[in-house]
């Protein structure tokens, strides 16, 4: 099975897991394609191909052969770290009220849909699933790790609120004929945070082997990538 993982800087954890030999499964080949956050928003779908005008950046990340991504060359697509921004959504909901209980479920679903439908990853998923029968997975970008330096406060989010958001997001993604892959529960601590160990020694998206900046709580390491790759493989094996 040939799987392409499409996304922004969060796919680096998965790339590095493969490069470091942390994940290998017979019969599964992974390709990677994507651009950093802002440039990712410019990717377009055009008649079976994902295209971008930002070829220079793409070439630097993946080499010349990946200038255009032919959907038909793959058995499955995975959008990882598109981003869904679950953390920002949760913080936004928490900031407006005390939590999910302040809002009617239907309003939350409509509001989250309005936010998600503006994300390029979700637009691409809709366009591709309308024209192709291949399995598509939307894999949540990781929740942040806790800040350790104490300068900025770590927001407290209830586990039930994360669960309710996941349920709504899952339904919205399934409505687009795609599968939703939640962040692995074993990688989460204190309801809302990725365990600190997964943010340690994370490498950059740039293909230079350098580490992410000191204090980066958003990007995860290859141990995290290994877990995500395993879950992707399991999900697609189950769907096949």
């Amino acid at each position: 099975m040939k799987i392409c993982i499409i996304g922004n800087s969060h796919i680096a954890a998965l790339q590095h897991a493969l490069r470091e030999g942390r994940f290998a499964r017979r019969g599964i080949d992974f390709d990677f394609w994507g651009l950093p956050n802002k440039q990712f928003e410019e990717i377009k779908y055009d008649q079976g191909i994902l295209v971008t005008t930002n070829l220079r950046k793409l070439k630097a990340l993946f080499g010349a052969r990946h200038g255009r991504l032919k959907i038909g060359a793959y058995d499955a697509l995975v959008f990882h770290g598109g981003p869904l921004r679950l953390d920002r959504l949760l913080i936004s909901i928490k900031a407006a009220g005390e939590g999910f209980d302040e809002f009617d479920e239907e309003f939350l679903a409509a509001g989250i849909e309005s936010f998600m439908s503006g994300l390029n990853a979700i637009r691409l998923v809709s366009e591709i699933s309308d024209s192709h029968a291949l399995p598509i997975v939307v894999s949540a970008d990781p929740l942040p790790a806790r800040r350790r330096n104490g300068r900025r406060k770590n927001p407290e989010i209830a586990a039930e609120d994360l669960e309710r958001l996941q349920m709504i997001v899952g339904r919205l993604i399934e409505a687009r004929k795609a599968m939703y892959l939640r962040q692995d529960a074993g990688t989460i601590e204190d309801a809302f945070y990725t365990r600190g160990m997964f943010a340690e020694n994370a490498k950059r998206f740039k293909n230079d082997g350098m580490m992410t900046k000191e204090g980066d709580i958003k990007h995860m390491n290859s141990r995290y990538g290994e877990i995500v790759l395993g879950r992707i493989a399991d999900l697609l094996a189950g769907a096949a």
Partner: protein, 354 residues
């Protein structure tokens, strides 16, 4: 010597109006108290009140969104669910009676009526029938939503520095048994009209004066430093239930509201009246501020009203929506019909019954 000798130019028709181009008429409002950017400003009332909240927000004033929606949700969705329109999710408050009801219920939520309109398995809140598209999934959700709004409204009343209330209508429908006044006639956006249970009433000057004075006394009882600004919506009635002509009914309604607002503002030092009604409807302007339907207010009309308001504060604000980049509608700007159509006006639903 006579009392007119020392009056300013604005007191005389000829220099203030007759010798000026209509759009150059100035000094039309002398505020009793200021609105500055440090003030927390609440807005409620008919659909025209929504222009105040937008203009205040656009110009960096502290419009008080007492029941905010998550900031990552789209404007369209939030407005469809009654957020970001008024300082709490009350929906349109057209009458002084409804305004007083909301204030009383905010203080004593247990006194809010139990009535629920059920239809097609959905629950409509009779106190704000359009607040939730297609109604609530069940009664408990409807009640919980209302409790949240009443708590928000109480916070708004307690902590606002200024409150703008735009009076819209004198006509209303009420429950014969409970006396509850509805914002919309039962049967229009939920519920069933029953002549044995529901009655029409066109509120008189004395009734509105009494209710509005009562509402203001309650507001000031909770928040003694609150400055209250009354305005009258220049938007004509969509329909009248009096049996008379809607044009005549509109004149009655607006005249009564204008008189009440003026009387209260003249009586109470902490209540002011802003002439948005006059700025749009005066024959001097020859009606350019209405859209082709002769009912909704054009973007130019809204700009004119809001410019006059802010010019009276510090004389420097450009309120024009033209000056603002509008990100919606693929680059299309919110002008003319578009802007007016953007208001959430429950009474427009009456048009469906003509």
């Amino acid at each position: 010597m006579n009392p007119y000798r020392d009056l300013p130019g604005r007191s005389f028709w000829k220099p203030a109006v007759g010798e000026r181009e209509p759009l150059a008429i100035s000094d039309i409002w002398t505020p009793k108290f200021g609105f500055d950017k440090s003030h927390r400003i609440a807005t409620f009332g008919s659909c025209f009140a929504q222009h105040f909240s937008r203009a205040l927000t656009r110009l960096g004033y502290s419009w008080f969104d007492g029941e905010p929606a998550p900031d990552m949700f789209s404007e369209d969705v939030c407005r469809r669910y009654g957020y970001r329109l008024f300082s709490a999710r009350t929906g349109n408050i057209y009458t002084a009676q409804c305004f007083r009801q909301w204030i009383d219920w905010a203080l004593e939520p247990e006194t809010a009526p139990d009535e629920v309109w059920v239809g097609d398995g959905r629950c409509i809140d009779p106190l704000r029938p359009t607040i939730q598209p297609d109604g609530f999934a069940d009664e408990e959700r409807m009640r919980r939503g209302r409790r949240i709004t009443l708590a928000a409204l109480r916070r708004v009343i307690e902590t606002s520095d200024r409150l703008v209330f735009t009076l819209g209508l004198t006509e209303a429908w009420r429950n014969r048994e409970t006396g509850v006044v509805y914002p919309l006639c039962p049967g229009v956006a939920g519920g069933d009209y029953d002549p044995d249970s529901h009655e029409f009433h066109n509120y008189t000057h004395s009734e509105i004066l009494s209710e509005l004075n009562g509402a203001i006394a309650t507001l000031r009882g909770i928040n003694p430093s609150l400055g209250i600004l009354l305005t009258v919506s220049p938007v004509p009635l969509t329909a009248t239930a009096t049996g008379g002509h809607v044009l005549v009914a509109t004149t009655y309604s607006k005249s009564v509201l204008r008189a009440v607002a003026g009387e209260i503002a003249a009586d109470l030092p902490f209540v002011d009246y802003f002439p948005s009604y006059e700025l749009v409807t005066s024959p001097l302007y020859r009606g350019p501020f209405y859209n082709a339907n002769a009912r909704t207010i054009s973007a130019d009309g809204v700009d004119f009203v809001m410019s006059s308001f802010f010019a009276s504060q510090d004389g420097s604000e450009d309120t024009s929506s033209r000056s603002e980049a509008e990100p919606h509608n693929g680059g299309k700007t919110h002008r003319d019909e578009d802007l007016a159509e953007d208001e959430i006006c429950d009474d427009v639903m009456l048009d469906a019954f003509r």
